[in-house]
């Protein structure tokens, strides 16, 4: 298996696509989803020969050359979640390709051809790569298989139905004849794939469901894998940048006399809102930047601070929100009972991927090359075109492996800044963020304030009102996702909470923090919602005098898949077995990203309020598990990501500036704090669910509820407050 990164020109947007075969440049077969209204000019530059004179996507999803080499084009980016492997498995399964020999290529920028079916744009996020492409890639694989079989049958003058395919060969079992896909590629390219090719019965899957080796990992253990930050185009120089420490501030004045005299410093670039130093290597550039005497104009945000932001969002949450979901008569249920109310709050968070933000750019009068790892390839191209004024097709994006995305690389601010710097530089320049710049100029997971009121009746929840107050990231990033005052991500896992509650209402109340840019962060909407809901469920169980497990199980009648997961997790975690003092187990049960997951954390809280994780157990029904070991790995890692935030994660603002800067004051969980994490997959024939972010959303409420069980202290804000747990401060 080989992996290439490729780049290419853009194509016009069209939502309607048709499965289509064509000839590849230099011979062989291409198969993919043809966009009927795609720009003919773009296709004409591609080298593809359309079979009927119409434009054809040159890259499609499958390419079979005359030597039989099968190349699968990956619409989604690989950032550790294993999609290069799982999406390849889906394509190769229906194609009956010899998996060990297929090659993988990153798709070029094109919303029309490689748009994520769940977004309509080319984006990797929301744990939906497998969910979104499940059907489309199966159809592509099956369509290619059908015409390869048809080509063989024509040659052999037999009924295609009497042929089969396996390991990149068409076989005619009655006569034992075989033809490789390479020998059939040219003939197949002239055929029309069936509109709805028959898909395999899951019981016939040969690849899907097997724990296959990841395709991208070999070069990640020997230093050969290349990420955006590793690009070294000939003649490249290196730049360090600084934006105003105060959000929205501008450059007032720069004295560069000391910096220009430093060894290795080549150029100082001063833009309206940022300063860059270009050098022979990054160290020279960074030293030069530190030697600059920069006067900033802080602008209007120099007063912004966390205390005020928290006060404001709490006050805002007292107003009515837009109704996202309503059933029964919630007002009547709340008036008829003894309402219990609780508020939960989560802080701003930075993404801090291990690969700091970076982008390498070469701007020329007639074109622009961008080397970057991005979750939104077409948007990367568009922003570079907008900054340079070049037409889209003159901008080439070389998308690379991503050293951690977590949502940070769904935004293109870093590409925009880098292109602006590169416009002032002769030749290619690699702009690298220091860790401090990366943490202080992020698009932060917003602060959210969740307010829930409920009533109990006969030991069960009767009324439930949940109001989510916070930033609408969708309104900025994908306006279709913010309609009538409701952010669909902001209420995710709140409107589809799993319990049998007869009367309920979920509201979203948009409240934007001043100055602080907000963005998607691994786990997205379900993060705060599952934390609030599952924390409150534990508090309600205690009010009702019930065991938290029994309380939940009794209300999961409409969600048997989650009930099964919760029962399994409880059994595996030895729920109910006696524990030492100050040790507790806590549950989180949820439907997130179309996966049904139950998580049980076991923690110990010492007298100083320090929390030690003893064990985490989770059971998940995520439908058909395409690559089961990847699912286990994603849950293990996702839980660590979420627990890190629960124990340490908080970005605070003072005087308009982020106060944290690096891993010394924005802490990460380390190996010596990581407990055993046991993941149990439940066999299922349902369509695949999402998994990359699921664990992240499960960790914090499970740990919080374990602390509640160990100490009786009901924490309602993250990260955990050790002063409260030590008894030195009121919750």
């Amino acid at each position: 298996m080989t992996i290439h990164t490729v780049s290419g020109p853009s194509r016009a947007l069209s939502r309607r696509t048709i499965l289509r075969a064509g000839a590849a440049a230099g011979g062989g077969l291409l198969l993919g989803f043809y966009a009927p209204f795609a720009d003919a000019a773009a296709a004409n530059t591609s080298g593809a020969a359309p079979s009927d004179g119409g434009p054809f996507a040159p890259d499609a999803f499958i390419r079979v050359d005359r030597a039989g080499k099968v190349t699968l084009i990956m619409p989604q980016v690989e950032m550790g979640q294993g999609v290069y492997t799982s999406l390849s498995m889906i394509l190769a399964e229906e194609l009956d390709a010899a998996f060990a020999t297929v090659a993988v290529e990153a798709a070029p920028p094109s919303d029309a051809l490689y748009g994520n079916p769940m977004f309509g744009i080319q984006a990797t996020g929301n744990s939906n790569s497998v969910r979104a492409f499940w059907k489309k890639l199966r159809q592509a694989g099956a369509g290619a298989r059908a015409i390869l079989i048809e080509a063989a049958a024509l040659q052999w003058k037999v009924d295609p139905a009497s042929c089969t395919a396996s390991d990149s060969e068409v076989i005619h079992p009655p006569t034992g004849r075989k033809l490789g896909y390479g020998a059939l590629a040219d003939a197949a390219a002239k055929l029309t794939p069936p509109a709805n090719p028959p898909l395999k019965n899951p019981k016939d899957f040969k690849l899907i469901g097997k724990p296959l080796r990841r395709l991208d990992t070999q070069d990640k253990v020997n230093g050969k894998a290349l990420y955006g930050i590793d690009m070294l185009p000939p003649g490249v120089k290196f730049a360090a940048i600084a934006a105003c420490p105060v959000f929205g501030g501008k450059v007032a004045h720069v004295n560069d006399s000391a910096a220009t005299a430093m060894p290795g410093v080549r150029q100082i670039v001063v833009l309206s809102d940022l300063v860059a130093v270009v050098g022979d290597h990054f160290w020279a550039a960074k030293q030069g930047l530190e030697a600059l005497d920069i006067t900033w104009n802080d602008g209007p945000n120099a007063h912004v601070n966390s205390a005020q932001i928290r006060k404001d969002i709490k006050a805002a949450s007292e107003h009515e929100g837009a109704v996202a979901k309503s059933r029964g008569d919630v007002e009547k249920a709340l008036k008829g009972g003894d309402p219990i109310e609780a508020h939960y709050e989560v802080p701003f968070l930075s993404h801090a991927p291990m690969e700091p933000m970076n982008c390498t750019v070469h701007v020329r009068p007639d074109g622009c090359d961008v080397w970057v790892g991005t979750q939104v390839c077409a948007r990367a191209q568009a922003i570079a075109a907008r900054v340079t004024g070049l037409p889209l097709e003159k901008v080439t994006v070389h998308n690379q492996l991503i050293g951690g995305g977590f949502g940070r690389r769904l935004d293109v601010d870093g590409i925009e800044k880098s292109v602006r710097v590169a416009q002032k530089v002769d030749g290619p320049v690699k702009v690298v963020w220091t860790r401090e710049e990366d943490i202080r100029h992020d698009f932060y997971r917003p602060i959210y304030y969740d307010r829930i009121t409920a009533t109990l009746k006969d030991g069960r929840i009767d009324g439930w009102k949940h109001r989510v107050t916070g930033s609408s990231i969708m309104a900025r990033w994908f306006p279709l996702g913010f309609q009538h005052g409701v952010d669909i991500d902001g209420v995710d896992s709140a409107i589809d909470e799993p319990y049998d509650i007869p009367n309920m209402r979920v509201e979203f109340l948009r409240h934007e923090p001043p100055a602080v840019p907000t963005g998607f962060w691994r786990g997205v909407g379900p993060n705060n919602n599952v934390f609030a809901i599952e924390s409150f469920i534990d508090e309600l169980a205690r009010k009702a005098g019930k065991d938290p497990l029994d309380f939940r199980l009794a209300m999961l009648g409409k969600t048997p898949r989650l009930k099964t997961a919760l029962e399994l997790a409880a059994k595996k975690a030895h729920w109910g077995d006696p524990l030492p003092p100050r040790v507790g187990r806590g549950i989180a049960a949820q439907i997130s990203f179309a996966s049904f997951i139950a998580t049980i954390a076991e923690v110990e809280v010492d007298r100083e309020g320090e929390v030690r994780l003893r064990r985490i157990t989770c059971a998940v029904d995520t439908g058909i598990a395409v690559n089961p070991d990847t699912i286990v790995a994603q849950l293990q890692g996702g839980l660590v990501f979420g627990v890190t935030a629960a124990l340490y994660g908080e970005i605070t603002i003072d005087k308009g500036r982020v106060q944290q800067s690096n891993f010394n004051n924005y802490r990460m969980l380390r190996i010596d704090q990581t407990p055993p994490i046991d993941v149990h997959l439940i066999k299922s024939g349902e369509a695949p669910g999402g998994i990359g972010e699921t664990g992240t959303t499960a960790g914090p409420p499970a740990v919080r509820n374990a602390i509640y069980a160990a100490t009786g202290i009901a924490l309602r804000r993250l990260p955990i407050d050790r002063e409260v747990l030590a008894g030195r401060k009121q919750p």
């Binding site: 020997n222 070294l232 690096n662 190996i671 010596d672």
Partner: protein
């Protein structure tokens, strides 16, 4: 010019003496397998071996290295411990995004070279300086034990 012994070769670089080894490796010599993560020795992504010991290259001035032998991720597979660690990493599918794994592997290889059969506390002590944002710690621990020839926990 500063002379360095890197991966068994003598390399001469024209940089000032206080330049950290990390940037010489990456930007001057093109050995990009060693990664930049924090610049303050808090994350371990830049870990290399100097005379077989794990060192954070982001704070190691090239002028201070002298004749000592530098080994990077590109060559650690030529050492017995490094090769065992790389194999165990693949066998147990430790890697996710992979960005921190060069540093993790260098730390693990140095640990095994010095302590062929580490227990959990040895692993904690040797590996706690390496952050993995993807959260692969459970498998890192298992892979070190596998590389050490022990049964998995």
């Amino acid at each position: 010019m500063i002379k360095l012994q890197i991966n068994g070769q003598v390399r001469e670089v024209d940089v000032v003496e206080d330049t950290p080894l990390l940037w010489v490796l990456r930007d001057v010599l093109g050995l990009t397998g060693t990664k930049f993560g924090c610049g303050i020795a808090q994350c371990g992504a830049c870990t290399v071996h100097v005379d077989g010991k794990a060192v954070r290259s982001c704070l190691l001035a090239v002028g201070a290295i002298g004749n000592r032998a530098v080994t990077t991720i590109e060559a650690v597979g030529q050492t017995p411990a490094g090769a065992r660690v790389q194999k165990a990493w693949l066998d147990l599918e430790v890697v996710q995004c992979g960005y921190c794994q060069s540093g993790q592997i260098m730390s693990a290889a140095a640990l095994l070279a010095a302590t062929p059969h580490p227990d959990d506390s040895d692993i904690d002590a040797a590996m706690a300086g390496n952050i993995c944002r993807c959260g692969t710690y459970v498998r890192i621990r298992a892979a070190i034990k596998k590389a050490a020839g022990e049964r998995q926990a």
